[in-house]
Every structure is written in structure tokens, then in C-alpha cells.
Amino acid sequence: MSILVNKNTRLLVQGITGNEGLFHTTQMVEYGTNIVAGVTPGKGGEWVLEGKVPVFDSVRLAVEATGVNTTVIFVPARFAADAMFEAADAGIPLIVCITEGVPVQDMMQVRNYLDQKGIRLVGPNCPGLLTPGETKVGIIPGDIAIPGNVGVVSRSGTLTYEVLYAMKNLEMGASTCVGIGGDPINGTNFIDVLEMFEHDPMTEKVIMIGEIGGTDEEKAAEYIASKMTKPVASFIAGQTAPPGKRMGHAGAIIEGGEGTAADKIKALEAAGVRVAKHPEEIPTLLQ
């Protein structure tokens, strides 16, 4: 068991013939992900991976032909909103957007539109999802994680890899790892994923990796305190970040005194979450 993606995932790759799209399509297929189609407008009728994956001109055509149930988006930032609208209008219930740098006003429109339709978006500006041993949707390196009972949710990319790697070194496996992304307006937040982990029978413990900016960690702390039965360990990046500066991620900024690491750590600890001092320490808190 797992959340969001598993071996029944029938994946579409939007932007499949681009450099990044094609590289990660190869990686995903090697991992065992069932990629049933790709979309690149203007390249419908071609095939990639030596005839393994058909390319369509539009998501609608791909969905009709292949029964997609999840899509992963690798298109450039300026086309990302359109790609998400297209996937939503084609009725795909789970959209994972890897693209970094999507304008925030685009994202507000996308998020409001998707909410109307009840469609789940993960990302953008995220590494995607990995259910070790089953499927990989996105760019998380498959070999750094093993199957297990720890759910991982994170706003970050490589920091997550760091944690998965530390887990693996301790022979601790993951049920599903969800990268929710570093943008201020995104599709899925901590509470959404925590709730799924809480209800996933295969997940027994949870690691939550936050960072400065916004108040999602504080809200997650409230959820954990009031609703969660499973133990949660956490790490918050950006304790040394100066206020008013965007720390790489569009969403990683302390503004108006809000979004500091100290506030988040305080809220989490008050909710009974064990907060690590550095990322390699996190898995040890759950042992």
C-alpha cells in the first residue's frame, strides 16, 4: 500500500520529447513506472524509448487512447499553466507538476480552477512522488530509497534525497515519498499528505520536511496534535536564512515576521513532533 501513486498508476508524461522529459521518462521506465503515453504538441504520431511510448498532440487524445490516470508535467514554466488546465479538462484526477518557475498568478488561477473540479495537483516546483518498489512519478532518484513503512513529505528536492538516503543507510524504508514543492501557491500541502498517511495502513511513521515561508508547517502541527495517531519526525530548513530574501524556492521567504523556522519548530514541538537538528538525524528520531 501507499498513497497517490502505486503499481496501478498509468502515467502520462506532458513534455515527453523535451530534454528533461525524455531523460526522466527513461529513468521512470527503468524504475518500473508504467508510462502509457506522452504529449508534445506537434509531435503526435511519434514514439519514444524505441517505440515503447506513443506521443500524442494533446492530452485528450492521449487519455482517450490509453486510459491515463496520472500525469507528470515537464514542460517549460511559461507553458505549465496551460498544461495543467489541459490535464484537468481531460479529466485526469492526479496531476504532478515538476516544472520550476511557474508565475504565481498563473498558479492562483490553476489552483482555484482545479479546486472547482476536485482534481489533485502535486507541485509545481517539486521532485514528484516515489513509492519505492512500485512506481516513481517525477525525478526522485529511485536507488536512494527502499520500500518500508515511513511516509515522507517534503517541500524540498535534494534535501529529501538526503533524508531518504540517510533512511536507507539505516535500512529504514519509505511507503511513499511526496515532494509537495517549494512554491508559495501549490496544489497539495502538508495537511493533505499527512491525512493520507494517517489513513494509509502501510504507513506507520511519518517524516515531514519543511522550510521557512508561509504557515503550512504551523497548520500541519495543529493537524498532527488534533488528528494524527502516527508518530511524526520533522526538520525545518532555513534557520539561518535572513528575512525578506527568497531562499531559492519562490515560497521560502520570511515576510512580515511570518514564516520563520523558529516559529515552525516551536509549533511542531508543541504538537509532539520530534524535530531534528540536521537532516541525517531525522530517521534516528523514529527508530
Partner: protein, 383 residues
């Protein structure tokens, strides 16, 4: 990207928001000339990208053009919070009856734009929010539908704006909304929006922040960037697509991924060091980018040691290693370097760096501790 007051007000004006007559000057004599054109009584306003210009003495009223020239001379010689004043805005002075705050920003939690207003304008809205939150109205705007007229009226009613001004206020609110959306702003604020003694609404001061990610569709706005206002290293970093922020410590950091870069800083601090910068080389960075990053880090004379923390995923460790070697050829660093490579092609990367004079580490904690120790010993030598 922050815009200057004069730039923001120019944009506002395009969307029908009334602003004072005025122009920007780079010299005191220009300032005098503009003041003459405006009839003498003007405000001389330093154009720097920080708040608190007024308190710092960067905004002064001149009774005539001679005084305007004198004040411009003074203000153009100032540094405000470390930023030298290079331009002043000369605005017609207005007789003010009341000051209002009106702004639009993104509400992360609500996933919607929010229009914020307060009858107490002219001061920092965050201060008002902290001390008298009941004086602030926050009106969320549907991003698919835009600001509705009734919302402007709700705001006008909340801030007790006399009804004679409602129609003009509605136009200004709509103009601000259009300026915000058309410019892909993350903040557009008029502070203060004043009622003048001759019964007009006027945007006396303005501020806009543009979403960097949306600049591709606003080449005109991208050109407004004032590189004078940021550290040279940050300008340089942007050229190479690197995410870089200068800090005050002495351990340079080069990391792939923003979260891991912040974390590397945090762990340096945890073990008693001080990071000299935030630097994310991004995913899949090649040798060129790595070399540029290294030059930027080492250009800071404070740097006493450098930590490389690379977790290979999309980024391949051997590529990064090659970048480090190339940059070392060129820059010939005099400070100790600690390198940690994990993940994709880490073995190859480590092999490439074996002959370079570098300290290697297995874990991030180990790497940070070694960097802290190296910086201390290197700083000791330098002293």
C-alpha cells in the same frame, strides 16, 4: 523584483490612478529644474529599494526650487540602510487631509490575491496589522473573476471613506488590480493614498514587487531592474541562472537544491560556523555554471573556507567535480575547500577530485564540521 517608487507610480498612472506631477532626477541641478517646472513647492524623495526612507531623512519638502536643489544635493549624498541614493523623485507637494493604505498582495494560505486597506495610511501596514488589526480590511479576490466593484465599495465603507469619494476610489482600486495582474506583481501598494485639501484622491507613494518568474512575459518591466541596488555578486549570479544571496559569515557554500542549500547553512551554524552565502546551483548544473558559482563565492574577501555539498540526482557529481577543477584552474583559490559528493556518479566525481587539494567528507554533518574547522584555522593564518 522590487520597483522604485517612481517606476511603480508610472505603472499606476497607466491604469488611471492619479499620481502627483513629478519626475526623477539624478543630479541636484536636474532636481532644481524639475522643481521650477512644478512651480517650486515640491517633495524631494530618495529612490532606494528599502523602507523607512522618511525616518532616515531621505524624504524632504522644499519650499522652492533653490531649496529643492539643496535638499537633492544632501539626499543624493546619502546612504540609506547601506544603499547609496542615486536618484531622487521630485514630486509636486500636496496638501493632505487624510492618509489611507491600499494594497494588493498574494495570500498564500487562501491561494488568492487579497486587497488590503486601512484608514491609517502612511505607516507600515505590518505595523498597523500588529498593533491595531481591527483597522485593516482584507478582501480576497477571485483570481478567475477579478476584483468586483462591490468589493471596492465594501472597502470604502470599511475605512469610512466619505461617500463623495467612493466612485473615484472604485476606479483607483480597479486600476490597482489591473496594474497588479497586468504586471504579474506579487505586491502593488499605494501608501499613502491621500485625500488632498482640495478634495482629490492621490497616490502619493507607491511600491510594486514583480514576480521574477513572470518577467519572461514583461520585457519592459525586466528592463526596469536597478542592478545598482543589489550586491554585484547577486547580479552576476543571476546572469548564470544561479540562486545566490550574500551573507555575513566566512564559509562559502555551494549546494544543489534550495532546501539543501539552506540546510547546509543551518548545519554550518549548528557546528559553530557562519555561512558567507546561500547558493543553489540548481538541478543538472554543468561545469560552466559550477565554475561561475565558485568565482562568485571566492570574490568575497570574507570567505575563509568553502563547503561543496552535492547530492547527485539530476545533477551528476562528475560534472560538478569537473566544474570545480576548471574553476580552480582559473581562480586559484587560497582557502581550504571541503567537498561532499553523494548520489549519481559520486564515485567518478570523487576520483576526479582525488588529486586536487581538497578535504572530503561522507556526511553533511562531517562536512560542516570540517568546513568550520578549516575556516577557523584559515582565518587564524590570515590574521
Amino acid at each position: 523584483m522590487k520597483l522604485h517608487e517612481y517606476q511603480s507610480k508610472q505603472i499606476f498612472s497607466r491604469y488611471g490612478i492619479p499620481i502627483p506631477k513629478g519626475r526623477v532626477a539624478a543630479t541636484a541641478s536636474e532636481a532644481r529644474q524639475i522643481a521650477d517646472e512644478l512651480g517650486g513647492r515640491v517633495v524631494v524623495k530618495s529612490q532606494v529599494l528599502v523602507g523607512g526612507r522618511g525616518k532616515a531623512g531621505g524624504i524632504k519638502v522644499a519650499k522652492n526650487s533653490i531649496e529643492a536643489e539643496q535638499l537633492a544635493t544632501q539626499i543624493l549624498a546619502m546612504d540609506i540602510k547601506g544603499l547609496p541614493v542615486r536618484k531622487v523623485l521630485i514630486d509636486e507637494a500636496a496638501a493632505i487631509d487624510q492618509e489611507i493604505y491600499l494594497g494588493i498582495t498574494n495570500d498564500r494560505a487562501a491561494k488568492k490575491p487579497v486587497m488590503i486597506a486601512s484608514a491609517s495610511g502612511g505607516v507600515d501596514i505590518e505595523e498597523v496589522a500588529a498593533t491595531t488589526p481591527e483597522k485593516i480590511i482584507r478582501e480576497h479576490i477571485d483570481p478567475l473573476l477579478g476584483l468586483r466593484d462591490y468589493q471596492s465599495r465594501d472597502i470604502a465603507a470599511f475605512i469610512d471613506l466619505p461617500r463623495d469619494y467612493w466612485r473615484d476610489f472604485g476606479r483607483i482600486a480597479r486600476g490597482l488590480w489591473e496594474a497588479y495582474t497586468s504586471s504579474d506583481a506579487t505586491l502593488a501598494e499605494i501608501n499613502p493614498l491621500v485625500i488632498t485639501k482640495d478634495k482629490r484622491l492621490l497616490a502619493l507613494d507607491g511600491k510594486m514587487v514583480i514576480d521574477d518568474n513572470a518577467l519572461f512575459r514583461h520585457p519592459d518591466l525586466a528592463e526596469m531592474r536597478d542592478s545598482d541596488e543589489e550586491a554585484r555578486s547577486e547580479t552576476e549570479a543571476r546572469k548564470y541562472g544561479l540562486s545566490f544571496i550574500k551573507l555575513d559569515g566566512n564559509i562559502g557554500c555551494m549546494v544543489n537544491g534550495a532546501g539543501l542549500a539552506m540546510t547546509s547553512m543551518d548545519v554550518i551554524k549548528l557546528f559553530g560556523g557562519e555561512p558567507a552565502n546561500f547558493l543553489d546551483i540548481g538541478g543538472g548544473a554543468g561545469a560552466d555554471k559550477v565554475a561561475a558559482a565558485m568565482r562568485i563565492i571566492l570574490a568575497d574577501p570574507n570567505v575563509k573556507a568553502v563547503l561543496y555539498n552535492i547530492f547527485g540526482g539530476i545533477t551528476r557529481c562528475d560534472e560538478v567535480a569537473r566544474g570545480i577543477l576548471a574553476a580552480m584552474e582559473e581562480v586559484k583559490p587560497q582557502v581550504p575547500m571541503v567537498v561532499r559528493l553523494v548520489g549519481t556518479n559520486a564515485e567518478e566525481g570523487r576520483a576526479l577530485l582525488a588529486d586536487a587539494n581538497m578535504i572530503t567528507a561522507e556526511t553533511l554533518a562531517d562536512a560542516a564540521q570540517k568546513a568550520v574547522a578549516a575556516a577557523q584555522s584559515s582565518a587564524g593564518k590570515g590574521a
